[in-house]
């Protein structure tokens, strides 16, 4: 396999990672030097009809980068923006999806893009208060960086009450979560923000009608918000034109796993996965690609050969039987034991299930225990059917998508790699690929 990387240098880091080429990219001065806060300043001065801002975001084809891929402009338009009640804007920086790490880098390297994006979104939805819910584990670097940037913006008079005499108010607050995966689910995040245990709420009512403290609320991912300033600055047509139809713009791909150079790269949507892999130096040690989880562990696994023929955009990955999710590809080479991988993933879901819905609370533990016994060589072939059955009974039977997310890996691993599970069961826990006992590595 060729490791010669195709040339994407002119297409790399166009949107959110644009200032990364500059020194101290997280400062206000650097951000301003690339045209930062121009859009916000224009909005404060001209005060265009709020709907026109939303229309531009709609036209850009920006879709929610948190995983579900819901069109961002459409979501903003659901806000009752002329209603006189207090409305809220919430940024979901609770980036906990295993494999995903682009929000962290936005907070570290370009926090002002997020702040400006939130300010623009607040203007578009006629909101005056926003919260940035940041994952607790980010206390080391991302939170201080973001806080510093926030202080800079306030000091520069870009946020606050009656900003620059425009009569527009916008306050942005940072909230640091306590590190539960489920708090990345938007309604659980709202509960957590309200000071309750993070437990997803039933939808409907959707947050746009009944969100934070029961008030209309818009929640978007960090990357979605941070893309907005560039979209408005360079024009929605430019952004939409970067990617294929229905998947406009750029995406930050978090490449992890068995690649030579794991990294975050911002590239236009629709880039072939093979090119993405080559940009990261190919599979570790020149080995053969076995499988890829293309959007964080919550999406189904895709065999390597299929993935090499797939482009990284919403529709193409969907056609390959998975989902683009957060754009975080976990690459696995040929020495990977899929049973062990699945056991590890199911252990994650077991410990992160909030416990609200019975199928998920009991089912994630059940699946993990079944898989542990496969690894220990104490299972029977019939139990694979049971495992699949448990997964099928979780999927679609829970309040939030966590249940689905815990079931999809099981379903997809069994669909593509059933023979590995069967081999391990038949051979008392010996792995098909690495010739070690399953329990040793687990």
């Amino acid at each position: 396999m060729s490791t010669a990387a195709p040339d994407y240098s002119d297409k790399m880091n166009l949107t959110v990672f644009e200032p990364l080429k500059l020194e101290r990219s997280w400062t206000l001065a650097t951000y301003r030097s690339i045209g930062g806060y121009e859009v916000w300043g224009r909005l404060l001065k001209d005060k265009p009809e709020r709907g026109t801002v939303i229309d531009q975001v709609k036209a850009s084809g920006l879709r929610g980068r948190g995983g579900a891929g819901f069109p961002t402009g459409t979501k903003w338009s659901f806000m009752p923006r002329n209603s006189p009640v207090q409305k809220y804007l919430v940024c979901n920086s609770d980036e906990s999806e295993p494999g995903t790490c682009h929000d962290r880098d936005i907070l570290r390297y370009n926090p002002h893009a997020l702040i400006e994006g939130l300010a623009i979104a607040a203007y578009a939805t006629n909101t005056t208060v926003a919260y940035n819910y940041i994952r607790g584990e980010f206390l080391g670097e991302p939170v201080p960086r973001f806080e510093a940037a926030l202080a800079e913006s306030y000091a520069a008079g870009l946020l606050g009450k009656n900003i620059k005499g425009s009569g527009i108010d916008f306050d942005l607050h940072t909230y640091v979560g306590a590190g539960a995966y489920i708090c990345g689910e938007e309604t659980a995040l709202l509960d957590s923000l309200e000071g309750k245990p993070g437990k997803p709420r039933f939808k409907p009512p959707f947050p746009a009608n009944f969100g934070l403290y029961g008030a209309p609320t818009t929640i978007n991912n960090t990357l979605s918000f941070a893309s907005v300033p560039t979209i408005l600055r360079k024009g929605p047509a430019w952004f939409a034109g970067l990617g294929p139809a229905n998947s406009g713009g750029t995406m930050i791909y978090s490449m992890s796993g068995h690649v030579e150079k794991p990294r975050n790269i911002e590239l236009p949507m629709g880039i072939p996965f093979a090119d993405l892999l080559a940009l990261c130096g190919g599979v570790r040690g020149g080995r053969k690609l076995k499988a890829v989880i293309p959007g964080g562990v919550s999406v189904p696994v895709v065999p390597g050969e299929t993935m090499l023929k797939t482009n990284m955009d919403y529709d193409s990955v969907k056609a390959a039987g998975s989902a683009l999710g957060t754009g975080a590809a976990i690459v696995m080479d040929e020495t990977t034991c899929m049973v062990r991988v699945l056991e590890r993933i199911s252990r994650f879901y077991m410990s992160e299930s909030c416990g609200q819905c019975t199928p998920c609370r009991e089912g994630t533990g059940w699946m993990n225990r079944l898989l542990k016994r496969v690894l220990a060589g104490q299972s029977r072939r019939e139990e694979l059917a049971l495992l699949l059955d448990v997964a099928n009974r979780i999927e679609g039977h829970t309040i939030c998508a966590f249940g689905d997310a815990s079931a999809w890996p099981v379903q997809s691993f069994l669909k593509h790699y059933r023979h590995e599970f069967e081999y391990m069961i038949d051979h008392g826990g010996r792995s098909l690929v690495s010739d070690t006992m399953g329990a040793q590595a687990a």
Binding site: M350, S353, G355, T358, R361, G365, W366
Partner: protein, 615 residues
């Protein structure tokens, strides 16, 4: 199997969860818990204080209190009924019977004026437990812990099992006939100079027969208002002391002023209704001798020493006159103009100036106040001025029934005023009489809040106690004790604070030779040769009371009692009487009547271990 497999497919190890200690009322079996969070939502949404919560996540989630606390709310026993799997069960009842072995009999709760509906579950004649009976108009699906666990007191160790007669200081058991003969002869000999004290928790039938016997003995000295101090204005009493509105309508109140009431203690179900009203935006103000904890927002809270209570209420009335721009009724004008109005009084008055349905309630603490007549006159003036309804939260489950049945010295059954009113409970205990009859497990030092009353009774020539319990107090003063059935062992009727008549059949068999109170009084009436004591059943008695009350039309208090002074004058006050010092005693929730006092689990709760406060 037609409905799925008969064996579980789950072969993995199951988790077990340690049981919680939630206090003396609720036992736990936490491995049964399915995390439905009903109990948690109950404490949050109905009780108003989150005493239970979830700790942990996913499989490790546990329903428990925060850091080994107990569950203390007065309605918390309802989580036992709510728990769908039996993870939360009744601690006293647990393991004592099987649900399917018991018969279920509807009962009425006798401990407060709500008349909450209960089911008594009976196994072979013994009351094993009490659960809520749904009645949306009264208790919805909830009952207070007091109503749920008081049944334990029925089987107290000091239950009186046979009629007993005292000679000197020795008590000896005897048979019903000779005991009743002795009582009848003794009372006949002292007719006209005796006092009858009845528990406010007795049934209408018992109260009515007690009143008839008293009047048959040429006396009007019968009373159930044992803790009341001030009877100056009793002639103006309404038909019965009630809430002045339906309990269900409390939910829809827009404004409420509560005067002298520890509402959560006195009537937990009513406090819950008020909490519901506040959830819909009702404004509530309180005028109390102390700051009591409430789990709903209060617009105003006036804390006022007992001696200042009347002055403060007059000031609220003065402020209300300013707010509404209406004139204070003439008979109150003088005292109101003397009141010093502060912002706190204005805030309380402002509450009643709101639009919509408004109410002023006088609680049990107000009724125990030495100037109750003044308080009521001022409260009535306030209600009249603001257009609010006037109500009272009475003690005992049947205060309304006692009024209607004539168990008061100034009226006979059917609200017929007597020309020469008898002695009130207070006067009976202040002035020695030749004979006393105590009906319904009365323990004078607690029920009349006066230790001296016991000495007064002890001076009588004959003291007859018709009581379920042979308490130490009664043993020391009585000459004859007749065993009577408790609320669960008698058929009877209760009239609740909204005037609703509710009848029940006896659920349990009376313990020992105890008999339902109405039967004892009926035979006593026969032995006294009184006319018309040939009742065949409690229904026969009830029919007579209802016939007497047929023409009665409930009307609010319309007295014109003149408040002469804002602070108490010496009139009627006596050394040793609490009235003299003005001390108000806030009877603890689990001390209100003889049965509750004997319920061991309730006594072990935090509330049960808290001594009475006096203000």
């Amino acid at each position: 199997m037609g409905f799925g497999r008969d064996v579980s497919r789950y072969n993995e190890g199951k988790r077990s969860v340690e049981d919680e200690n939630l206090g003396p009322l609720i036992a736990t079996d936490m491995t049964r818990c399915i995390h439905c969070t009903r109990c948690i939502r109950f404490t949050q949404e109905i009780a108003g204080i989150q005493e239970l919560g979830m700790i942990g996540r996913g499989e490790h989630m546990k329903v428990r209190t925060y850091i080994e606390g107990t569950v203390n709310h007065e309605l918390s026993g309802n989580v036992i009924d709510l728990c769908p799997v039996g993870a939360l069960v009744s601690k006293p009842y647990r393991f004592s019977a099987r649900a399917w072995e018991m018969s279920s009999t509807p009962l009425i709760a006798p401990h407060d004026g709500m008349g909450s509906n209960l089911f008594g579950h009976v196994l072979r004649g013994r009351l094993m437990r009490v659960v809520a009976r749904e009645n949306e108009a009264i208790n919805e699906t909830w009952i207070s812990d007091r109503d749920r666990f008081s049944y334990e007191g029925v089987y107290s160790e000091d239950r009186l099992l046979t009629p007993m007669i005292r000679s000197g200081s020795d008590w000896s058991a005897t048979d019903w006939e000779s005991a009743l003969m002795q009582v009848a002869e003794g009372l006949k000999a002292r007719a006209g100079d005796l006092g009858v004290l009845v528990s406010g928790c007795a049934t209408v039938e018992e109260l009515y027969l007690a009143a008839r016997i008293t009047r048959g003995l040429k006396s009007h000295n019968i009373d159930h208002r044992l803790r009341q101090r001030d009877f100056r204005d009793q002639a103006a009493d309404p038909v019965f002391p009630g809430l002045g509105m339906r309990i269900a309508d409390v939910d829809a109140l827009d404004a409420l002023l509560v005067i002298g009431s520890n509402l959560r203690r006195e009537a937990p179900i009513l406090a819950h209704r008020v909490r519901k009203a506040t959830a819909h935006g009702a404004q509530v103000a309180m005028l109390n001798p102390a700051r009591f904890p409430y789990l709903f927002p209060l617009k105003a809270y006036l804390t006022s020493a007992p001696a200042q209570l009347v002055a403060d209420l007059a000031a609220v009335l003065a402020a209300a006159a300013t707010v509404t721009g209406k004139a204070v009724p003439a008979h109150l004008a003088a005292v109101v103009s003397a009141a010093r109005v502060t912002d706190a009084h204005r805030a309380a008055a402002q509450v009643l100036a709101a639009e919509g349905k408004r109410a002023v309630w006088l609680g049990a603490l107000a009724a125990r106040h030495p100037q109750f007549a003044d308080l009521r006159a001022l409260a009535a003036g306030l209600a009249q001025l603001t257009g609010a309804s006037l109500g009272r939260i009475t003690e005992g489950g049947n205060a309304a029934g006692a009024y209607l049945a004539g168990a008061i010295p100034h009226r006979e059954a059917g609200v017929k005023a007597v020309s020469q009113p008898g002695l009130s409970a207070r006067d009976m205990l202040n002035k020695p009489l030749r004979a006393y009859v105590l009906i319904g497990g009365i323990e004078p030092s607690i029920d009349a809040l006066d230790p001296h009353s016991l000495a007064m009774i002890a001076r009588a020539e004959l003291v007859v106690a018709i009581t379920p319990f042979a308490s130490g107090e009664l043993q020391s003063v009585a000459h004859v004790m007749l065993p009577m059935g408790t609320f669960a062992e008698t058929s009877g009727t209760y009239v609740n604070c909204e005037g609703l008549w509710q009848s029940q059949n006896g659920a349990a068999q009376p313990v020992g030779e105890a008999r339902p109170g109405w039967k004892i009084l009926r035979v006593l009436g026969n032995l006294l040769n009184l006319e018309g004591f040939d009742y065949q059943s409690s229904e026969g008695v009830l029919k007579e009371v209802r016939a007497a009350c047929e023409a009665v039309v409930p009307a609010p208090y319309q007295g014109t009692h003149t408040v002469t002074a804002l602070t108490r004058t010496g009139e009627g006050a006596r050394a040793g009487d609490h009235a003299a010092g003005g001390a108000l005693i806030d009877v603890p929730m689990y001390q209100v009547d003889a049965v509750v006092r004997r319920a061991p689990s309730l006594q072990r709760t935090l509330e049960g271990r808290t001594p009475a406060a006096s203000y």
